[in-house]
């Protein structure tokens, strides 16, 4: 009799995500599916609203990474206002970059310290009661305090550039609505220890060393866990450098061959399609030239280090060279190396923030550029979790008539399904009951992609993580809650 394992994570008011693992009569895994809600409700909601409201409106989407949506929408609206991606004033573009790299820094730091460091410090097989940030705080207090302060530093950067924590208004059509005062600059440059950029760079380097030490001691696990070949997609600067704010769209296959050749993302619909499957509301993006079966790809930190030719900041570039050397220059397809890539990006973000703080353009007063309006625009940005697409069309009354969003978690839909399948094959096949390690392993595989399962809203009364073992009739054979 066939069985189905169900992992049902946090329920939100707009729906919920869950993992189902289907077993055959011999308890072998035959299929695994990750279901996550999609954002189509928002795309309808924004229709009929004036286009210049989009950068603020889209922050309703997600309380996790509102800055990414804010900036992606602003970049699309720049096109509609006729400014174009390269037409911002130096102050406008650099303030947006500071906001964005502040977002990357705080998000990556949070992911590392809250989700990854317990695994690194206590081991993946440690008691789940021990593998959490509370225990890190108890046994490695200094490290945990660093995590809090790095997150806070990034949040303060966002506040200084976006204007406020909630529904920031920093990025506006064609530019930015404020510059960075000298007082604000000095707060980040010379703030009382540890709240200054020098300390953030130092801590970023230390976090990288912690990961590398763990990797050295646990190579078989880190290299082998949920590893699989894939294509990789991200923005890169026109000269091939890593650029998380703007660039052209590039994809490489698992061997490093370019399969999307630095295209202008205004034409993304010519190259990227979105497949559907009956069991999920979330679409499955793919490269049209390779088709649905072979055209899926990964986005996010691992993909970005696989697509770019170099990192334009010295400390991160040195780490990038070591990262590339590990796979002899070929793309890295190991899921847990996502953490390594994320930490290299954390260091890069800190270096970029440092460079920007030393740039007097941030104190400029020419904040907004103007152009001739057109009726369509696409904005792309490399959000912490991966490439984020915003596409709008407007009518002659300046009202939005079409909105299409492809978020990072959607790009990573197929890779996350495959990662779960890999774990299921290794740990669940042949089992008739749910072991704690199974739940943890599935979590670790999904968490590596840092999916946004709870994207827009939250409320008290949430459901816990649930793993159920069901037979073909739907009867629960085993059930575990987290």
């Amino acid at each position: 009799m066939g069985q189905k394992l169900t992992i049902e994570p946090v329920t939100r008011v707009e729906g919920h995500g869950k993992v189902t693992i289907h077993l055959d009569d011999d308890n072998n895994v035959v299929e695994s599916r990750l279901h996550i809600v999609e954002f189509r409700g928002f795309e309808r909601f924004v229709q009929g609203r004036p286009y210049w409201e989009a950068p603020v409106l889209v922050q309703r989407l997600c309380g996790i990474c509102p800055v990414s949506h804010h900036l992606a929408a602003a970049k699309a609206i720049d096109i509609i206002t006729g400014v174009g991606p390269d037409g911002l004033t130096p102050t406008g573009e650099k303030m947006r970059r500071l906001m964005h790299y502040g977002q990357i820094f705080q998000s990556h730091a949070l992911h590392f310290f809250h989700l990854v460091s317990p695994d690194l410090l206590f081991g993946i097989n440690a008691n789940p009661e021990k593998r959490n940030v509370i225990e890190v705080a108890r046994e490695f207090r200094e490290l945990a305090v660093q995590g809090v302060m790095m997150r806070k530093f990034g949040q303060e950067i966002i506040k200084a550039t976006a204007g406020k924590k909630i529904h920031g208004t920093g990025a506006i059509a064609g530019g930015i609505n404020k510059n960075l005062s000298l007082e604000e600059r000095d707060f980040f440059k010379n703030g009382k220890d540890p709240m200054n950029i020098d300390k953030m760079i130092e801590w970023s380097k230390e976090a990288l060393q912690l990961f590398k030490k763990y990797h050295l001691e646990n190579k078989e696990f880190v290299d082998g866990f949920a590893a699989f070949p894939s294509n990789h997609l991200s923005l890169v600067r026109k000269d091939g450098a890593m650029d998380l704010y703007h660039g052209v769209l590039r994809a490489v296959d698992h061997e490093g061959k370019k399969i999307l050749h630095d295209i202008d993302y205004q034409n993304y619909l010519d190259y990227i399609g979105e497949g559907v499957k009956s069991w999920s509301y979330m679409k499955f993006p793919f490269l049209k030239n390779l088709g649905k079966k072979d055209g899926w790809y990964r986005v996010g930190p691992l993909a970005r280090l696989n697509t770019c030719d170099f990192i334009p900041s010295p400390l991160a570039q040195k780490e990038f060279e070591e990262f590339k050397a590990y796979t002899k220059g070929k793309p890295n397809n190991m899921s847990l190396h996502m953490h390594w890539a994320r930490l290299i990006e954390t260091l890069h973000a800190a270096e970029v923030i440092n460079d920007l703080l030393n740039d007097s353009d941030l104190q400029g007063t020419d904040l907004v550029a103007h152009g001739k309006k057109c009726d369509e625009g696409v904005g792309l940005i490399e959000a912490p979790r991966g490439t984020l697409f915003h596409h709008y069309k407007v009518n002659s009354d300046d009202l939005i008539t079409m909105c299409n969003l492809i978020v990072s978690t959607t790009h990573n839909n197929e890779p996350m399904n495959i990662a779960v399948r890999k774990v299921a094959d290794a740990m669940i096949s042949g089992q008739r009951s749910i072991k704690e390690g199974m739940l943890n392993a599935v979590e670790v595989a999904i968490r590596a992609y840092d999916p946004c399962l709870s994207c827009a809203t939250h409320a008290m009364g949430k459901m816990p993580l649930e793993l159920s073992l069901l037979d073909a009739t739907g009867a629960i054979l085993d059930r575990k809650l987290k």
Partner: protein, 167 residues
């Protein structure tokens, strides 16, 4: 005198999900209009690790949030520290923040959670009529709670035209 923080969290772009933020904003307005300086205010989409540092600087913390499927329109509960974590790190529970605060900063403020029942969480504003009534009820209840905590007599009197905080 005790140092008190009222911290609302939620997404005001998702109707009733913004109740916690609205409570913090309304109470801040009342406090400002009445020269009541005992309270500090904070608001954000959700709680996260840096909030452990924030609350470590207070004697009393009142978190405010929307609630779903709760028995009463407004509920106030004492928060006890808990190490329970969630599936992702994207949002954290007040009890986890309190636990982290104690672990990192060796302090444990007296902490409460005020939840106001919401019913609609779609994109857009404003909040529903029921949620608005629950918000007004919460203001009165928080005023009473503050009286108990501080020993200072004050109360929020609500009518449709004006809101005053007497102390």
């Amino acid at each position: 005198m005790k140092k008190i923080l009222l911290f609302g969290f939620g997404n005001i772009g998702r109707q009733d999900d913004g109740l916690g933020i609205l409570l913090a904003e309304r109470m801040e307005e009342l406090a400002l209009n009445n020269g009541f300086g005992l309270l500090d205010f904070e608001a954000n989409y959700q709680l996260n690790i840096e909030d452990a540092l924030t609350i470590s600087q207070y004697d009393v913390v009142l978190f405010a949030d929307a609630g779903v499927n709760q028995a009463e329109p407004v509920m106030i509960a004492k928060v006890e520290p808990s190490a329970q974590t969630e599936f992702t790190m994207h949002a954290m529970d007040p009890s986890f923040i309190l636990h982290l605060c104690r672990g990192l900063y060796d302090t444990s403020p007296e902490t409460y959670i005020i939840t106001m029942r919401g019913s609609e969480f779609e994109f857009g504003q404003p909040i529903t009529t029921e949620a608005s009534q629950n918000l007004n009820a919460a203001i009165s209840m928080v005023a009473r709670l503050l009286s108990e905590i501080t020993g200072v007599e004050f109360a929020a009197d609500f009518n449709k035209e004006t809101l005053t905080l007497n102390h």
